[in-house]
């Protein structure tokens, strides 16, 4: 009760802000929300691995990139729409994820904490180089008519395809939360995430849980990658900026918080859109991203210290 009372001024402030932005430039909200959907749908799979396996996967962006290439190849070879090619892509990514876990991550989890960081850094380099050798680094792009789907209100027209990222991120959030709270594996994963030793004492197969969670998160990356392909051009380093962005979002949301990633993406997406909306200021939008992260973390740190 006390909690919800405290939230009231925030909700009011948020509402005032939204109305203010709406009066200034209504499209900023549209673009901000769309961008937020993209960020969230890429960051969400990472929050699963960092929350439960406690690893920072620096190959996250490269896995996104690989899955987009797989979808691209399937779409070209089989003449499928990428959103249909999504299904075989998920299968391939499941295999990729499982093999990666069994061959590398599993072993590195036993070593010093930061080894996973460097291991995944190496995996990231290797993946992007393999793709470069196969496809060269020339940019590719599928042509899809529907990504230019448009909506006109009054004078302004804007693209609506990017709302699929919003839908995707919400579905992913619901899916992950249901998985963690409703399924046996999900419950085991939560237990393992909180206390691996304790979980193994009560008879949970920790290794199996880790393997499954990692695989699932790679499959989710695969889904995000297929959607990513509909919008973005493909080249071997296309994923890498999203690793750090996702990592930052997760830190901002608080490691392990699933819906927090959604809210933080929203805050960042809109903040970026606001800066982009000011002429000649788009170069500064990154600073907003990082300032918000620092402020959020600092405020949270202060709160916990007060206790």
């Amino acid at each position: 009760m006390a909690h919800s009372k405290k939230a009231i001024p925030w909700i009011i402030a948020g509402a005032v802000g939204v109305i203010g932005i709406f009066l200034w430039k209504p499209t900023v909200l549209v673009y901000g929300v769309q961008r937020a959907g993209l960020y969230a749908s890429i960051a969400l799979p990472m929050s699963l691995t960092s929350g439960i396996l406690h690893i920072v996967n620096l190959a996250h962006g490269e896995l996104l990139m690989v899955s987009a290439y797989i979808t691209y190849t399937l779409a070209l070879l089989l003449g499928l729409d990428p959103l249909l090619a999504l299904i075989p892509t998920m299968l391939v990514m499941a295999i990729v994820g499982f093999i990666l876990y069994e061959l590398t991550i599993r072993k590195a989890l036993k070593g010093p904490e930061l080894n996973q960081l460097i291991l995944t850094f190496g995996i990231g380099i290797a993946l992007s180089q393999i793709i470069t050798l196969i496809y060269t680094n020339q940019t590719r792009k599928l042509h899809l008519d529907y990504v230019s789907a448009s909506m006109t209100i009054g004078e302004t027209s804007f693209g609506i395809w990017d709302f699929t990222f919003v839908a995707l991120s919400i579905l992913m959030t619901i899916g992950i939360r249901m998985f963690l709270s409703r399924t046996k594996l999900g419950k085991a994963a939560v237990a393992v995430g909180q206390n691996p030793k304790g979980a193994s004492i009560v008879g949970i197969d920790v290794q199996k849980t880790y393997a499954m969670v990692f695989t699932i998160s790679v499959v989710l990356v695969g889904i995000a990658g297929s959607f990513f392909l509909t919008r973005q051009s493909l080249f071997p380093s296309v994923g890498s900026p999203f690793t750090m962005k996702s990592f930052s979002l997760i830190a901002m949301a608080g490691v392990g918080s699933i819906s927090g990633v959604l809210y933080c993406s929203l805050a960042l997406g809109i903040a970026e859109a606001i800066i982009n909306g000011i002429p000649h200021m788009s170069g500064w939008s990154d600073i907003v991203f990082f300032l918000i992260i620092i402020i959020t973390i600092a405020v949270r740190a202060k709160k916990t210290r007060k206790i």
């Binding site: 940019t139 042509h143 990504v147 027209s157 693209g159 051009s233 000649h280």
Partner: protein
């Protein structure tokens, strides 16, 4: 018999030592993981092989040693050091990114080897070189020359096709060094005669790819010509966004360093104009281009996708022709290059290149030896890049205005 063999071997050795000193070595640095450097280095290798097959230069074979500069300055410097001191190359060649070139310039100054540069468009590189770097032959146009050539081009086009109306110009630029440089130089160039404005965006190549705010600004400006300076990764997504936002300028011009694979196959690509130095359509009007194109496709089983390929190919020919012209005097008695002689021969270069134009060298703002100054204005028509301007190499007439989105 055995004695005779040894003797003749010795003779051959002495003769080749006296006349040939083995091969003429060219050291090249390109970013090999990037399609520009990868294809540029391969095209240079193709030229070397063609020349060697035709008998080499001054009776000697050419040898190209390529080292990856990884688009990093320190790696680029180490590469030059190795090429000069370990491989003992006679000439240097290559380059793409301006950052790497800025790092390499001091080392190049130290050795004063003749350099045929295929990249480095930033005027900062020219500043770093200074006016005394007479050994530096810069093939690629400087950024400010590109700006000037576009101004020239649009003026020419307006004159020839009176229907084309250009008054309000909008330049969208990616926020990094490449886009910002384009914006700055264009603003100076076009700001006087045109109603000029612009907006920046974060390129998809660097983790961005959200063009909505920029397009909104452009749309509000109602430009006659919309130009974007970004990367190939921005090409199609930007068109898609423009279509979704019903942004429909009469001239839609892209100025990326390269284009995505199969860009022409996208229905959105049709009638998009672009800046560039080369396109396969030049094969129709230029036999050198055709020879290069066929040679490249035969050897590497891939289409040249970037103008850095014909540019680097030309670099080898420019050098080889100058050496041929300089004759034996190009090399001193100790086998080292006589810079004065070769520089003089290079200054007299008149080479009809695969890029369509004849390459000659003349002073630019600071340096003495600037090669190509023009970019071309092209247009995607039916999946092909057709040259619109300069009119000497025009392959098709322009389609104007840019048709409304279907």
């Amino acid at each position: 018999m055995k004695k005779f063999l040894i003797l003749s071997a010795l003779c051959i050795f002495l003769v080749s030592a006296a006349f040939g000193q083995g091969t003429i070595k060219i050291g090249g640095t390109w970013p090999l993981a990037d399609v520009t450097g990868e294809q540029g280095s391969k095209a240079a290798q193709l030229a070397v092989e063609e020349i060697n097959k035709a008998g080499g230069v001054l009776g000697r074979k050419l040898e190209l040693i390529v080292i990856d500069d990884e688009l990093k300055a320190d790696k680029g410097v180490a590469a030059i050091e190795k090429l000069v001191t370990v491989d003992k190359v006679d000439f240097l060649m290559g380059g793409m990114g301006s950052g790497v070139a800025l790092g390499q310039v001091p080392t190049m100054k130290k050795y004063q080897k003749i350099v045929i540069s295929t990249g480095a468009a930033s005027y900062k590189v020219e500043e770093a070189l200074g006016k005394d770097a007479d050994w530096y032959f810069h093939l690629h146009p400087w950024d400010y020359e590109q700006g000037a050539s576009y101004l020239q081009g649009w003026n020419d086009i307006r004159k020839k096709y009176p229907a084309v109306k250009i008054d309000r110009m909008f330049l969208a630029y990616e926020e990094g060094a490449f886009g910002k440089a384009s914006y700055d130089s264009s603003k100076v160039m076009f700001g006087k005669d045109y109603n000029f404005d612009g907006a920046s965006f974060k390129s998809a190549a660097l983790g961005g790819g959200d063009y909505s705010a920029m397009i909104e600004a452009a749309k509000a400006f109602k430009p006659d010509i919309f130009i974007w300076a970004g990367y190939d990764a921005d090409a199609l997504p930007m068109l898609e966004a423009a279509k979704a936002m019903k942004f429909n300028p009469p001239l839609f011009v892209g100025a990326p360093p390269g284009w995505p694979k199969d860009f022409g196959k996208s229905p959105l690509a049709d009638n998009v104009m672009l800046y560039g130095m080369w396109a396969p359509s030049i094969n129709d009007v230029n036999p050198v281009s055709l020879k290069f194109y066929n040679g490249f496709v035969a050897k590497y089983k891939a289409e040249p996708a970037t103008y850095f390929a014909p540019l680097s190919y030309s670099a080898v020919y420019v050098l080889a022709n100058a050496l041929q012209k300089a004759g034996k005097a190009a090399f001193k008695a100790d086998g080292s290059v006589d810079n004065a002689v070769v520089i003089k021969a290079l200054e007299e270069t008149k080479y009809l290149s695969a890029l369509g134009e004849t390459i000659t060298f003349s002073p630019s703002n600071i340096i003495k030896h600037q090669g190509i100054r023009n970019q071309k204005i092209l247009q995607w028509q039916n999946g092909r890049q057709e040259v619109i301007w300069p009119f000497e190499v025009q392959t098709k007439t322009p389609v104007y205005p840019f048709p409304a989105w279907k």
